[in-house]
């Protein structure tokens, strides 16, 4: 039995398609690539924010010198970040992080231009995790010393030096806050990369 003629159904094309003006629904792959491009742009913007925060932290700590106008027999009358090795580590680490973030901007642009490439995203993910660890370490160590400078410790006989050096303490505390902002931004960058790595 010839069923070919009955099976074939002729559907005339709509005039819009013939003219080439029919709206095409975005294929799933295009939707995915638009979503990943959006993530890439957001990643780039977050990176710029992190650069600003890291540079601010390093610069604030680096320029936090204070010299008191008077002197006594017992106390030091000059305070700078290089008096405490923890603060030196902080400045060096934040400068390193800012440098890394600047160098990672091209890779971030590559992830915008090529949304489905896995290698740049994976590389940025791994390096961002390491950078997050370094920033957290620097920020937390400096925060410990800043806390000690503000409150002292009676059990170990460590006096609070913020009583004399108010300006120095303020600048240093501000630098620690900026480094924690960098930590938060880096964490969201890591999470963004993790979501973008998923291949639905």
């Amino acid at each position: 039995m010839k069923s070919d003629d009955h099976a074939a159904i002729d559907v005339p094309e709509s005039s819009a398609v013939a003219k080439g003006k029919a709206p095409l629904i975005a294929t799933p792959r295009e939707q995915k690539s638009r979503f990943k491009k959006g993530l890439g742009i957001f990643d780039f913007l977050l990176r710029l924010g992190a650069i600003i925060a890291a540079l601010a932290a390093a610069a604030t700590m680096g320029t936090s010198d204070e010299t008191l106008p008077f002197f006594t027999q017992f106390f030091q009358f000059e305070a700078s970040y290089d008096d405490l090795p923890t603060f030196m580590f902080f400045v060096i680490a934040m400068a390193l992080i800012a440098g890394y973030l600047v160098l990672s901007l091209p890779f971030s642009i590559v992830t915008i231009v090529r949304p489905h490439a896995v290698a740049p995203r994976l590389l940025l993910f791994i390096l961002d995790t390491v950078a997050l660890t370094l920033t957290t370490a620097a920020g937390a160590a400096a925060a410990a010393i800043v806390y000690l400078a503000h409150n002292g410790n009676p059990n170990t006989n460590w006096l609070a030096i913020c009583q004399q050096f108010g300006d120095f303490c303020q600048k240093v505390s501000g630098a620690v806050v900026a480094s924690f902002v960098t930590v938060v931004v880096l964490m969201s960058l890591v999470l963004l990369s993790g979501v973008a790595l998923k291949k639905h």
Binding site: T129, T133, G194
Partner: protein, 220 residues
Amino acid sequence: MCISFTLLYLATSFSQNYSKFWRFSKKETQITKGMKTGPLESGESSSDATPAKLMISVVAVLDFMLRILAAAGTLGSAMAMGTTEETVPLFPQSILLNAEYSDLPMFTFFVIANSVACAYLVLSLPLSFYHIISSAAKSSRIILVVFDTVMLALVTAGASTAAAIVYLAHKGNANANWFAICQQFNSFCERTSGSLIGSFAAAFVLILIIITSAIAISHR
């Protein structure tokens, strides 16, 4: 011993994967009713275990073992820091000086951070085990990566805070007039410095866990 443990785990996970595919295909045959092609089905389904799925299983087994390692590291650090106590006599005034982890708020934060991280790692072990079995679970892997990143930041913060104070206790600071207390409290200083090693190792292992999860997420 570690290598044999690794091989044992790999063998059990592969056998689980293959047996799971075979059992799934057996259910299919029962639903279609009357198709007694059991051995054929298993042969077809074992070819479904592509190299990518095998790699994801290997990576998931590695993730599980690293989680156990990190939990042990954080637990050891918290216990070493929490059980340190030293009493030293001060000769001229004949009074006793006591040093404990709760004397310094940074050490208290260190113990708390490591305890929280250890509890989280132990609680995440069942989810990690589920990831070994099912290699297609992407959303739960992302959730685990989120929490792992938060725990990494917490552990690193605790470890570096305690490290700053341990450094100060060892060297002191002439400019701030902070005396090095390690000269009096020897064993206290030694134990607190030793407990830092476990915490930093756990932080490094957490980085490896996050990287393995990322590799598992990004594979097809």
